[in-house]
Subunit: 473 residues, 2 copies
Amino acid sequence: MDGRRDVGILAMDIYFPPTCVLQEALESHDGASKGKYTIGLGQDCMAFCSEVEDVISMSLTVVTSLLKQYKIDPKLIGRLEVGSETVIDKSKSIKTWLMQIFEECGNTDIEGVDSSNACYGGTAALLNCVNWVESNSWDGRYGLVVCTDSAVYAEGPARPTGGAAAIAMLIGPNAPISFERRYKASHMAHVYDFYKPNLASEYPVVDGKLSQTCYLMALDSCYRQFCNKYEKLAGEQFSVSDADYFVFHSPYNKLVQKSFARLYYNDFMRNCSYVDNEAKEKLQPFSNLTVEESYQSRDLEKASQQVAKHLYDIKVGPSTLLPKQIGNMYTASLYAALASVVYDKHGSLDGQRIVMFSYGSGLTSTMFSLKLNNGQHPFSLSNIASALNVTEKLQSRHMTLPDKFVETLKLMEHRYGAKEFETSKDTSSLPAGTFYLTRVDSMYRRFYDKKADEEIATGKARYSNGYANGHHH
Amino acid sequence: MDGRRDVGILAMDIYFPPTCVLQEALESHDGASKGKYTIGLGQDCMAFCSEVEDVISMSLTVVTSLLKQYKIDPKLIGRLEVGSETVIDKSKSIKTWLMQIFEECGNTDIEGVDSSNACYGGTAALLNCVNWVESNSWDGRYGLVVCTDSAVYAEGPARPTGGAAAIAMLIGPNAPISFERRYKASHMAHVYDFYKPNLASEYPVVDGKLSQTCYLMALDSCYRQFCNKYEKLAGEQFSVSDADYFVFHSPYNKLVQKSFARLYYNDFMRNCSYVDNEAKEKLQPFSNLTVEESYQSRDLEKASQQVAKHLYDIKVGPSTLLPKQIGNMYTASLYAALASVVYDKHGSLDGQRIVMFSYGSGLTSTMFSLKLNNGQHPFSLSNIASALNVTEKLQSRHMTLPDKFVETLKLMEHRYGAKEFETSKDTSSLPAGTFYLTRVDSMYRRFYDKKADEEIATGKARYSNGYANGHHH
């Protein structure tokens, strides 16, 4: 196909709100037993949007930042699509807000809209974008995929599983992170594990226990089909020893630990050669469980996590940095986990394979495989790592007290779906170059401004003019 | 690309609710001047969902019908995606409800989710699906695209521009309706012409005047770029004389009349050779208008419609049947218009070209080109026409009095986003094989049943079992 090889991710950038709360502090604030969130959920910290940020502002910030960091002319973007499950408008896509960046330079010929199904929308957008580059309608320009979400929950056990972030990924051929196209399997089904039927509320309806089982069932189904397809095409058995990293959608880290152990248990049941005698012995008592029983057995969970621990630390550990520090970012979670691996391991990824598992409640799920190479500047793994700048971004955050977090969520309950209000416009905690919400008018139109870039002395922002409300004069 | 030629639409089916109201009756009910809806909007009749139907039930109905009519094994579907702007759940995609049909036969490996941006989501889904077939990840199976919407408006001038329908399209290579891939241009921008920021309400916020101007501006921009690309690739000028049919997204017929006249005016300004001296004379007075003035001039509107009339009747008229009879079907509108052409002209379409214009407020728009051939049974134009069965479907509808229509919309205002209610389960007006909503439980879970197929004596429906609520036991 005229030299279109190695289609995939050329560049990445991530933005997450600087406002966050420590899970340990939240535990004592909520009167939860010590370790319930930090060990029980496996989470360290949770980012959240203050009243001046939302999924639109975060995506404006991350797209602007990606274009700037990699010096991409906005005219070279031929497709832009967004994955999100945070609904600010039920008809107008987030993509149309992002068009402001491209209209400025006269580029309005940009395909793509928003893809939606819970946390899976970003994967749908990414797969769509890769297909576009490989299709006859590709015109040689870059694709751009944005995942943006704010995960908030009503007071109760799910609240500490929130988070917020936006990720942008540039798509094209000759990518350092490319797709092994035929190694891909999906599992899609109709379930009510997590959904948002209460339209007036930002909070979902969640059946936590059911959602976890659905996640593991989908994982089993995808893995089974993934292995089948791999074995058909590659002519040899697939097991977890055939990938260098496994990156899972991460609602909370504990489920990621369970998921990798579940793959190990699958490999044990499939009699994979790398499973040693000691592990076999420990898992033997569970070899006769029915599938249904295997999802419920706490003993199996413990035993499989124990025997998989040494591999988990190597193959999964590096992907858990951002999800543990930020929390569930819904569509962005899986790609924040991928970004964590690239950031941490960029020097040693050349030639390696990463297997990804994307899950969205409702449910939709896909397992797919990425092949890494060092790439060429600016689209090199080392440049992606430096653009991601994870350590500095994490270190410059502002730890908020649980009271303030709860107060913010209370305020946002009134702001959700509301009109005619101004925000505090307080940008003191925001990094330079961050977009923020200033007001929503009587027609629900949203106005954003941009905190000046570091190098700009005067504070005149770009999207504060009359055009920003999208009203043609 | 290994023989993947002529990728496009292999088969189509349409479902629209049998409940509808005559625009003439609505005019007098509303106390509107005679002809305001019938001539002013150009509409004859408007379909609407009664309390037992919604976008989920309509899409279950149309997918089941398509698979049955074209004898497609559900296992042969490898991708299923939905375009819709009617939000019943903000997280769980409509696609997941449709998975019930495929889970029954063990096929859960089906990519794709929902695409959303106002009336454009169906086009996004269709373009994605065609790209998939042309990409390296295609596995030889069919794609399936579903457009499903219910357009309802608050009391006022926009209310008669409602409608409801679901369309299903089967996608694959060697299609009778295939894409001319490089003849495609998009215009995307940030505007607030029509949007749904009031999350608790099913009704949109609409600026009718702005939306019409945005539509025409987007049309101009797409047409300009479409012509540029065509001229670059084909080496000759493009004008409306180069396509046999033009199919427009149709919020109401009057805008379609204006749109075709606008293309004609574009051709006049571009000095296209087919524009005769008489037309030139009539349009000459408007040749010095600024672009902005040209959108506002009623005289230009009249003059261009008049000179374009003879071509409108031939090139646009055949596409207007279903949109005039059903109303705005949002994502399904453009494809109902295409179905109208196929239904009416299937015997003479071989070798012809249809140019499509898709518009979704907010805004996203694309102009693209289709090439027709007779095809091979069951994927032939004549078989598609017979499966569509438009005349019989239209004739077997139940005209409802305006009072009953208004009463239904009032009831639905309370039902929207509600839980814990049962519907009337009155299926007397529904065709055999139609899915319908029976109840929504205290957890907002929706239950559907199916009216027995004609050939089935016993009335046991398929989706009334415990599994239908998507709750795994």
